[in-house]
Amino acid sequence: MKHDSLRTGLLWIGPWILGFCIFTVLPVSLAVYYGFTDYTLLESPIPVGTQNYERMLHDEILGTVLWNTAIFGVLSIFFGTILSISLAALLSKPARFQSFWRAAVFAPSVLPLVAIAVIFKLGYDPDPEVGLANQMIDWFTFGALKGPNWFGSGFWAMTALLLMSLWSVGPAVVIYLAGLRDVPKQLHEAASIDGVGPFGRFFHVVLPMISPVILFNVIIGVINAAQVFAVPLIMTGGGPERSTYFHSMYVYDQAFKFGDMGYASALGVLQFVIILMLTGLILLAGRKFVYYRGA
């Protein structure tokens, strides 16, 4: 009887397992294999041992893209976390049109990234008569400051991308909102009775209570930042001087533009290992800093 129900269960999940094997296990396994080959896609792969991985050791462009990705990841996660917690805290307070404000914060995340990138590219136009960003700088400083040429230097191009990344904090805000709702009122009241002010309550009560949610969002943020691709591709094309050239763009170029599928696969494996290690490190750090209720 038990054996029979196992068979029935396997039969039902069979299609999913089949799909998982064909569309996930097989490609990942092939990517690992191709990482040890010289493969142009148009010719048969030739095993080259660890050559692709050795090449990484003195690939200056890889150093550049990893650095750019790290900078983008750290800053976008840092500022994104602060912004989304702040927005969630504001949206959790009773207010008129609360649903509207919540929808307004989430709505940008629904738009396709490609469309947003095109709009932002226009918004960053250096001429204040065209670019909204420079118009705002002009307006807020009463004309005292001229906006930068956003895509003319590496610093400003990266800043432009970071600012744009804050556009889609909506999903994180929703998760933080849910987390904030779970903070017991009694803790707020107890802290208030003890004379703790609003900031103190936020840092000593709210933040520890939502720390598992922060951990989750940071991990998702790391994975997203490590795979950033479409927006810089459209907005900057990786320039100027490769200052906004990221790891995923490099993998794509190696695979489909330069025809080096072997090296691209090795770079993909590196990306996977980096994300895995960072996630592991964050989870390890989480053991010390994250508070789990009931744990």
Partner: protein, 456 residues
């Protein structure tokens, strides 16, 4: 007979799966190989859209009507080179494929295109083509591709502005030295030094970043030795001239000039609006002029791009490119593909196509009617460059995409004045390019393929 509920569930599940698979097999996508009339169907993938796609459609229709054995199924798409790689790798390529000449080294080195030797039977040889076009598609005596539409790049100028500043529009600058003087006369700066009208800007539109050294006699790669020559004195001179523009007017001022609002999203907007007096462009420019400004409303002239005085007496220098047709390896009907390609190479079809694209003909000679009725009245300038031994294109290397990207990063440094001269950035590009070429050589050796210079 009792029916077990569990059995029904299993049967239903298996039946549904089987029905789905059967339905897919019966009604799912299938490549058409035979037309309803029993004709062999050729799938022809091309990258063009709009009027360019329409021009080839005329030729395809003409071919389909000209005989009853072959039917060409013409499909246009974006990202064609990448899609083609996947299709060829998967063993299901189209029968005819439209690529760019810069793709050919990689595709041919990988054995992904079939030599078009059979075109000889149709009377097509290297001498059928303009002098500079033949080497784009022939290698070591074998034809690897057929040109569809070529282009050569020239200097276009606004004759009205030339007259306005006292320059003779019938005698455009021939040397860089003359051009520099003309640029200063054509340029208008306001009281703050902001550029109101630029005599010329190498970054407008900035599509041929690899071309600047070539006007000074430089090459990026030496085919005889297989070595990169990015930082040769000629290339340094060319890119120093390129850098002279931000040095002359100021980088910020140029950025503002190029980012200024104009009610025209076209890449030609500065030239069409008179903010740019001269521009480096391809033969299609007048067609867009007519479309955007109305036929005959813009008085333009064209000439080969100026070169240093020492080279001025030689045949014209200029970058060239070509759209090409290839037969991918694994194509199901290679003979029929050859027949179609041979049809496109006939002078009357080639001239129809090139007129539709507003480009010069790739053939060794053009008819008088082609020149006379061409939408670009300066098409002879472009044909002259296609016939010149000094015309040049991107290097015949499989790693050009990567090489070009390295050059682009170097150019950013040069343009952004990160270095007082082009020498240091080009030296960096030279190192990077040498590494790319070395990897290319390693790959060839690994696969037992000869080095191109040895083959030659």
């Amino acid at each position: 007979m009792t029916i077990d509920a569990k059995t029904i569930t299993r049967r239903t599940a298996l039946g549904l799966l089987a029905a789905g698979a059967g339905g897919y097999a019966a009604f799912g996508p299938e490549r058409r190989r035979l037309h309803s009339g029993g004709r062999v169907v050729l799938d022809y993938w091309e990258k063009w859209t709009g009027h360019e796609a329409a021009a080839m459609k005329v030729v395809v229709d003409r071919f389909n009507e000209s005989q009853g054995r072959i039917f060409v199924n013409y499909l246009t798409m974006g990202g064609i080179d990448q899609k083609a790689k996947v299709a060829i790798a998967a063993g299901d390529p189209p029968d005819v494929l439209g690529l760019w000449n810069r793709n050919l080294p990689f595709f041919s080195q990988c054995g992904a295109v079939m030599p078009l030797d059979q075109l000889k039977d149709y009377g097509i040889t290297e001498s059928s083509y303009a002098k500079a076009v033949g080497p784009l598609v022939f290698r070591n005596g074998r034809q690897l591709a057929a040109p569809s539409t070529p282009s050569s790049i020239a200097l276009y100028y606004n004759r009205t502005i030339f007259k306005e500043v006292g320059l003779d529009p019938d005698s455009p600058p021939r040397t860089i030295e003359e051009f520099d003087v003309a640029i200063d006369r054509l340029t208008i700066l306001d009281s703050d030094g902001d550029v109101e009208r630029a005599g010329f800007l190498p970054t407008d539109p900035g599509w041929w970043s690899w071309c600047w050294g070539g006007f000074f006699g430089g090459h990026l790669y030496d085919e005889k030795t297989g070595l990169a020559t990015v930082n040769s004195p000629q290339n340094i001179a060319g890119y120093n001239w390129y850098q002279s523009f931000p040095k002359r007017w100021g980088l910020d001022k140029l950025r503002r000039f190029q980012g200024a609002p104009i009610d025209n999203p076209s890449p030609y907007r500065n030239f069409f609006s008179g903010r740019l007096a001269t521009t480096i462009q391809g033969p299609w420019l007048p067609m867009f002029m007519d479309q955007e400004l109305g036929k005959g409303n813009f008085d333009y002239g064209a000439c080969p791009f100026p070169v240093p005085a020492a080279l001025a007496d030689q045949p014209p220098y200029g970058p060239i490119e070509a759209d090409i047709l290839v037969v991918p390896t694994g194509a199901k009907n290679p003979d029929a593909s050859m027949e179609f390609i041979a049809f496109t190479q006939r002078p009357e079809n080639m001239e129809t196509l090139c007129t539709g694209h507003a480009k010069p003909s790739p053939l060794s000679t053009s008819s008088e009617a082609f020149i006379r009725e061409h939408p670009n009245r300066a098409v002879a300038v472009h044909e002259e460059i296609l016939q010149s031994p000094n015309a040049y294109t991107t290097p015949w290397i499989t790693g050009w995409a990567e090489f070009g990207m390295a050059l682009g990063a170097g150019l950013d440094q040069i343009w952004n004045l990160k270095s007082p001269s082009a020498a240091a950035p080009l030296a960096e590009v030279q190192i990077e390019a040498s590494e790319i070429l070395q990897r290319e050589a390693d790959r060839r050796h690994r696969r037992g393929q000869p080095d191109p210079w040895e083959e030659a």
